[in-house]
Subunit: 165 residues, 4 copies
């Protein structure tokens, strides 16, 4: 059976507290034996989560916007080159069994929305997506976690359900 793939979304700009949480998230994903997938960039949540996973023996897949690995995190095991810009966001969410979204900007918000539109379970780590997606919170497809640990606990429950389903 294939290992679960956890998609970690989030912004590219560096904010120390956000990045520390993302690094911890990467570590916990690796410790669970899951594969971490992100957008593969070399800054912010992408770089921090990849680093955390690699420090704990995990596997990291980056789905890159460009045609080369220029600007990619050094911690990727596998760099998927799309050359498709933002259209790769669709691949990020379709490939992930569960999506955990750290704080970000419009790119992250697009991934949250695309994931929900594809029926994926989405966990917001340390932020709220706002009223526009409240209906998904009401039906439990979108939840909030206050720590990397809580996010991973929620993800584990989703994965257990997927395997039973």
């Amino acid at each position: 059976m294939r290992k679960p793939i956890l998609g970690v979304m989030g912004g590219g700009s560096n904010r120390p507290a956000v990045d520390a949480e993302a690094r911890q998230l990467g570590a916990l994903i690796a410790e669970r034996g899951w594969i971490l997938l992100n957008g593969g960039g070399d800054g912010g949540v992408m770089a921090a989560s990849a680093r955390g996973a690699k420090e704990h023996g995990g596997t990291v897949i980056g789905i890159l916007r460009g045609k080369t690995t220029r600007g990619a995190s050094p911690d990727l095991d596998i760099a998927i080159l799309t050359g498709m810009g933002d259209a790769r966001n669709v691949i990020n969410v379709l490939t992930s069994d569960v999506v955990i979204a750290c704080p970000g900007r419009a790119g992250t918000m697009s991934e949250v929305a695309l994931a929900l539109n594809s029926g994926k379970r989405v966990i917001l780590l340390g932020w709220d997506a706002g009223d526009g997606l409240a209906r998904f919170q009401r039906k439990g497809q979108l939840t909030r976690a206050n720590s990397a640990n809580e996010a991973v606990e929620q993800a584990a429950a989703v994965i257990a359900d997927l395997h039973e389903g």
Copy 2:
């Protein structure tokens, strides 16, 4: 000079008041001599805005999810077939000079976010996207309009700026 392209986003489910506003929006876009672009579906905001534009002599482009015109609005002049599912949302927003978003669900929210991420001006017609995108409202890239007429007035100002720029 190419005609301006107005992207009209919004949900596929039929809500009479929303659809009536979308039809009016299509009519006003046609009367301005602009091209209307949408996702090309045969329900909800997509079908209604296309209908409104065609009733007033406009041109309608549909960017379709599928590989055929099955399920397309009958009012399209040009059906662009992508076979790419939600990845066509990226094409919708890149091709539009201005995006007007009617009420919708996660698919519409993804288009609003992708448009903002690409630097496009986005006008919300009759709804709010929530706190998650508040920063774009503060800098004026995302605005709200209370009627189709107001949305088109705002769009006209953006287009005038683009042509001067």
Copy 3:
């Protein structure tokens, strides 16, 4: 009923004899009342076929590789911006009712192959695609034309069949 869309593929480098034939092809497509679709570039077959169509009152759609109209032919009526690089080749062939391929290089060959793989009728104008696609010639999905006029005659027969079918 929507107007037929004729996809014109071919290389971006300027070869006078090839470009003259492409310009004539664009003219004939416009005279038939069909829409011409190509990759939207400002050189070679793309620019020449767009020019020919515009000189004869036609409508031209360019499916562009990039996120902006930089490097686009000045003769496009509608510029579809994909930001997807070569992945737009798939859109070119899916959107076309018939594909006419002028001489080109690997990009053109990829479009011929993608079109055949999608079940489209493909007409090679003034060249052969080689043994690798011979099976499609045997079953009549891929044919050769020796002039723009002959290519358009073949395309007209395909379109007549599509409308009856």
Copy 4:
């Protein structure tokens, strides 16, 4: 340093001699410590090459056409879900350090052409792509191998060059 990724292209229909060679190719790729990438399908060259790699302890990535793993080879370690149909062919070739193409039909031919158009080295295993791509053979970007072993030897030389370059 990331492991080299070998793209194995080829048809989905089952031809025993072709599939046996593809299985052997997968085995040799695994033995080299390279990652095997293919289209992830459960028939023909895709299934056979994945099987060969897994039997020899390799890692297999499948870039799937669809939004789910339905119809995927059981031997994938990582299933990248694109939902983009043939547009995923672009991702296949961009992500591969070298492309080895086994016999196939138009889909395989499109991947060969897209790979050449992206500047990738392509090795044809046991077939010829025909005159349409002869210019690439003349400049050495496209070569032919008569056995899986010869293809892997050629690929090893390319990879050595990439790492020096």
